[in-house]
Amino acid sequence: MVDVIVFAVAGLIVLAGGLGVVLNSNPVRSALSLVASFFGVAVLFVLQEAHFLALVQIVVYAGAIVVLFLFVIMLLGVDEVEDLSIEPLSGQRIGGLLAGAALLVFLLGGLFLSGGDEGAVAVTGTESVTQPIDETQPNIDNLATDLFGRNVLAFEATALLLTIATVGAVVLVRNAGAEDLSVDEPGRADH
Amino acid sequence: MIPVALLAAESAAPAPFALLPSLIAVPVLTAVFIALLPANRGDFAKAAALVGSTITGAISLFVLAVFEKGDPGFQLVSQHSWVSSLGLSWILGVDGISLFLVVLTGILFPIAIVTTEAHHEPKPYYLWLMLLMAGSMGAFLALDLLLFFLFFEVVLVPMYFLIGGWGHGERVKAAMKFFLYTMAASALMLVGIVSLAVLVGRETGVPTFDVRVLAENSDVLSHTAALLIFLSFATAFAVKVPLFPLHTWLPDAHTEAPTAGSVILAGVMLKLGTYGFIRFGLYLLPEIAHELAWIFLTLGVVGIVYGAAVATMQKDLKRLVAYSSIAHLGFIVLGVFAMNAQGLTGAVLQMVNHGVSTGALFILVGWVYERRHTREIALLGGLQGVAPIMAAVFTVVMLSSIGLPGLNGFVGEFLILLGAFSSARWWAVVGVSGVILAALYLLWAYQRVFHGPVSGDNEKMSDLKLSEMFGIAPLIALIIAMGVYPKPILDRIEPSVDALVAHIGQRVDGFSEQEPEPVAPAGVDELIATAEASGHGGEAEAQEAEEGAE
């Protein structure tokens, strides 16, 4: 029962943080709302007894990444307040709202109506449907076994992914530099 | 050189060498050879095309010579597995039904090449013609349903380029229309072919597209399946023929096509439709063909009357010939769906006849256009005076097209009407009117173009050159020979037709009841003999005399 209550509270924090990110007109507040959301997620990890993950969530996400965000926001100018009354694409908010609502209905339906004969598998706050984590070993050991054992390929593939991201980022921001060459115009046949 | 290359492809054939594959391979190799020629030497390309097509024609005549007269089955069969995982095999063979279409293809192509000129870019022009020849040969020879479809579809590409690249007026539009019409119609045929093979293969356990196997086992299909498959085939063939409501591509394609294209289109490619009806309609799915015969009889008859009526109203000579094709093909369909020996024999013969005479007509119209740069009937007139030889040739060809006794057209039409009369009386009665209308529009056109006073530019028109006379002479000879003595041809067609009719009789309940009696081969000849004896035979001779005089 305690589980359910903690889950509900943490879930609400996550949601509120998420809404705060979207609804705040001041980017700094948005970034701080994100931190709140990350903390909620960390609590959820603790609930699943994944203490190491909870720690990483706070150190890496709430610590490093959000700080990076704040740096960027400060560099761009903290006074930039976006005028929310202007819609760049007319009707996009309504459309987004509808699409989001549709997805919500779809997923809630999936969560609450599933299970067939055995009854609904709704939110229970119980631990994950996979086998319980080996309690005899420290959490980090479990994680390492999983990461470097079963999922080692995925782990290594992530390295490749990061390499690509780095190469791509460097290439795209590099100054094109080269001289402008003459261009063959489309639809014109006379040069 | 060429036979050696082919010997490798054919291992154990009854013929001295791979006779039937060479009919396809020689034009293909010629096309490859042409592709390697320098682009600025059009005369080389034409010479190569002429040699290649003549060799192919000679091989087709050799096939005719070695063809066993009394054998109703497929002869000179060349069978190899090709894509065994798909059940696709390379099976070629001729029987009495396809034999003369093969020969017709072999003869018409060299004649079309010799009698016409490519006005620009001769190299690709002859290349496409050679590929067209290979494709047409393949379609008539294929005994594998899928192989047939491959050839049936692939001929669209060269024809598309010929019409679009070397045609007149709205050539691009006509070419697009031609390609898309035919492709749309045969799209569903592919589904039909595959479904047929799958459904039959499920029963027999061996997936195959071999027409002979499919025809023997197609009775395992449910009625609905057979009906749908037949309809998918029939749509493709009906567009190709073309049958009445689906004919609208033909006048455009014919009119805008270059002369050689029109000759081949009318002479060879339209026959793919009627041949398809016989081989892949009647033979493969006789029950449904019999059940739906009334539809096709009706459409055929409508085509006869409609084609003739519209032809009468044409102001353009080439368009007139194009519409006359619709009428003539209507006759052939009437004969096919009469579904008896006379009707089918007549239909097969008439396919050849139509190829010869309409091919010749298109060549003549092409010559007129080359000289006068118009095909408007109103602008022509009195050509007989300035071009008497052309007028004479035109007369013979026209009379053959009308169906004058003693010329080839008569034999086919007579047999068709005879056959239709015994199994589909009222359709035949309406169909007869087509003969009268044909006389009307062709004679009228002849009168307007060749008779009357010579006026304007017409005075300067030159008569046929010697080379042109040599070019068209084989067709004139065929027109007369087939009209006077069709027996050798009928002797070869009939056994296969009889076998087909027997196959239908076996499969369709109560089929033989409506047929008066199986007609022995001799019976047909007697009928023709009677017809010729009754006073018409003399006209042909008079015609020949007239030709000689001029």
């Binding site: 593939a157 992914l161 795209l172 080269a178 060459l181 063959d184 | 995982s85 691009v172 229309k177 569903l188």
Partner: protein
């Protein structure tokens, strides 16, 4: 292998999973090749020239392709050591603790991706020279993207699938935007990135839901969680699974540009550099289809009756909408984008048939594989010709830019005609047999109506190929526009092409109108398109690839069923 320091400072040995390196070579060569290229060219600036990276990429693709031969032999002999799933004869044989599947299907798809990389590298060479761009980054990104594609096709675990998909896509986003001087290119890259990221989000959410429902991310685990016992209804009433499958399908549908998730394709294809489009349309799409096929035909096989109708709907919509929308276009790259949507429909139909429990299944899987190969070659060649015709600046993609190509460069026009007719499905080309196999599989499955609809859509799409052919061969003077428009009107029932400004065309003599880049294209690019046309013709004459490769590879995909 890896040592960890535990709480009481006692060293705990962590044994990694057994890895059969020799079977990973095809993947590793591509991935390491990419990393090596970026390293070497950074360290040795001399090698940053234009020839070395292209040659290196071609050789890498070739090496990866050749390394498939021993893998194929080993797979065929079934003598695999290393981790296997299930009883060893069932399910894909796999490596690295079951994350990476090595079977005939993987080998085949890897081969197809290598073909795509090889041809695109040749195209890129000519393109970069013409555009005055340098930099090995294009090749680096392509090699890495290809390795991601191989990973996606070989993934035996949804996490690995996702990573493969991301490696594949992110490199492609960057490549689309890589022509830094062209705003269109940047815009295309951005569009591709945003929509691709959305698709990835769907994909990831789908993985989460499936994991939640089945408790496993491995394909084997998901399969085992399903009602796969004989006699059970092949459906599920678990909405969690259904929602997960739906989201995964949406993610894949974005990647393979199936209608109604196709909106990005025409814009991106139009804006991105042409050789990159060649790779996007071939390699990226092939990998997407491979992943889709493996996940759905294997992991979700127990629920085939649930997802099959969705695939059928996507397929029919793609074939028809792809064909119809192409009619209104005048930009060749846009037209080809719609044509690739049409092809995607056909490949989805093959997957539909492959899900069939009877003999349509095997034929469907074979049809899919053959289609992937034929399509890759065709589409790379076609966009290759578009690259050449595009001229400097890569902007000449209007139908009118193809006018008179048969005179200015008959070889190029002939090659394009072969490729276009093949795409239209004319006999004796690979395109015909690709479509034929799909129709055959559908007929074996009893889905005649789907086959009929697909063939009619193929005829509609034939119009677009014919219009390009008309431009290249049949039009050389002022009648261009009228004739073309009328031709379209004739088939589209009076539907007029929207552009009317074509009348302002400059009439020039044929000689003057020919660009140097078209008259004398880069030899490497010409080689690529000629190779593509040749393979298209050879596959049209030998559509069973001369052996049982196709059927072996296909049955590997279906072992689960």
């Amino acid at each position: 292998m890896i040592a960890l320091v535990a709480q009481d400072t006692q060293t705990v040995a962590l044994p990694g999973p057994p890895v059969v390196w020799s079977l990973l070579w095809p993947f590793l060569i591509l991935a390491v090749g990419g990393v090596l290229l970026v390293t070497v060219t950074s360290v040795v600036p001399v090698l940053r020239g234009r020839s070395f990276p292209a040659a290196f990429t071609c050789l890498t693709a070739l090496a990866s392709g050749l390394s498939l031969i021993p893998v194929w032999q080993r797979v065929d002999r079934l003598d695999l050591v290393g981790g296997t799933i299930g009883s060893g004869t069932e399910g894909p044989r796999s490596l690295v603790s079951g994350a990476y599947a090595v079977d005939g299907f993987t080998v085949f798809v890897t081969g197809v991706i290598c073909v795509s990389v090889f041809l695109t590298a040749l195209l890129l060479d000519g393109y970069l020279r013409r555009e005055g761009l340098d930099g090995p980054e294009w090749y680096v990104l392509m090699l890495m993207s290809a390795s991601g594609g191989v990973l996606l096709a070989s993934a035996n675990d949804l996490i690995v699938s996702f990573l493969g998909l991301e490696i594949l896509s992110i490199a492609a986003y960057v490549m689309a935007a890589l022509h830094l001087r062209r705003a269109e290119s940047q815009e295309a890259g951005f569009k591709y990135f945003v929509l691709g990221a959305l698709a990835s989000a769907f994909f990831l959410y789908g993985i989460a839901l499936v994991y939640g429902a089945t408790g496993s991310t491995t394909l084997q685990g998901i399969f085992a969680a399903g009602p796969n016992a004989a006699g059970l209804d092949p459906r599920t009433d678990s909405s969690l699974i259904l929602a997960g499958m739906a989201l995964l399908l949406v993610g894949f549908a974005f990647k393979v540009s199936a209608v109604p998730f196709h909106f990005w394709a025409p814009d991106v294809y139009q804006g991105a550099p042409s050789p990159v489009v060649a790779f996007m349309a071939s390699g990226v799409k092939v990998a997407g289809f491979a992943g889709l096929a493996r996940i759905f035909l294997y992991a979700f096989q127990p629920y085939w009756a649930d997802w099959r109708p969705a695939i059928a709907a996507l397929a029919v919509l793609s074939t028809i909408v792809g064909g119809l929308l192409a009619l209104a276009q005048r930009n060749v790259k846009r037209m080809l984008a719609y044509s690739s949507i049409n092809h995607a429909g056909f490949m989805l139909l093959a997957i539909h048939a492959a899900a069939s429990p009877d003999d349509g299944g095997q034929r469907g899987a074979e049809a899919l594989l053959f289609y992937l190969l034929a399509y890759t070659v065709m589409v790379t060649g076609t966009f290759g010709v578009a690259t050449i015709v595009g001229g400097r600046g890569d902007g000449r993609h209007d139908l009118d830019d193809y006018r008179g190509l048969s005179r200015s460069n008959p070889l190029l026009a002939g090659v394009m005609a072969i490729l276009l007719f093949s795409q239209a499905g004319v006999p004796f080309t690979s395109g015909f047999f690709a479509k034929f196999r799909v129709i055959g599989a559908l007929a074996s499955d009893g889905s005649y109506a789907l086959g009929g609809a697909a063939m009619l859509a193929a005829v509609i799409s034939a119009v677009l190929y014919l219009r390009i052919v008309v431009s290249m061969f049949l039009i050389d003077n002022g009648e261009a526009h009228e004739a073309d428009h009328e031709a379209v009107d004739a088939v589209a029932g009076g539907r007029a092409a929207p552009e009317a400004e074509g009348d302002t065309l400059v009439e020039a003599s044929p000689e003057a109108s020919v660009l140097t880049s078209v008259r004398a294209p880069a030899p490497t690019a010409l080689l690529a398109v000629c190779l593509a046309a040749a393979v298209t013709l050879v596959l049209g004459l030998l559509p069973d690839l001369g052996g049982g490769i196709l059927s072996d590879a296909a049955s590997a995909l279906l072992l689960a069923g």
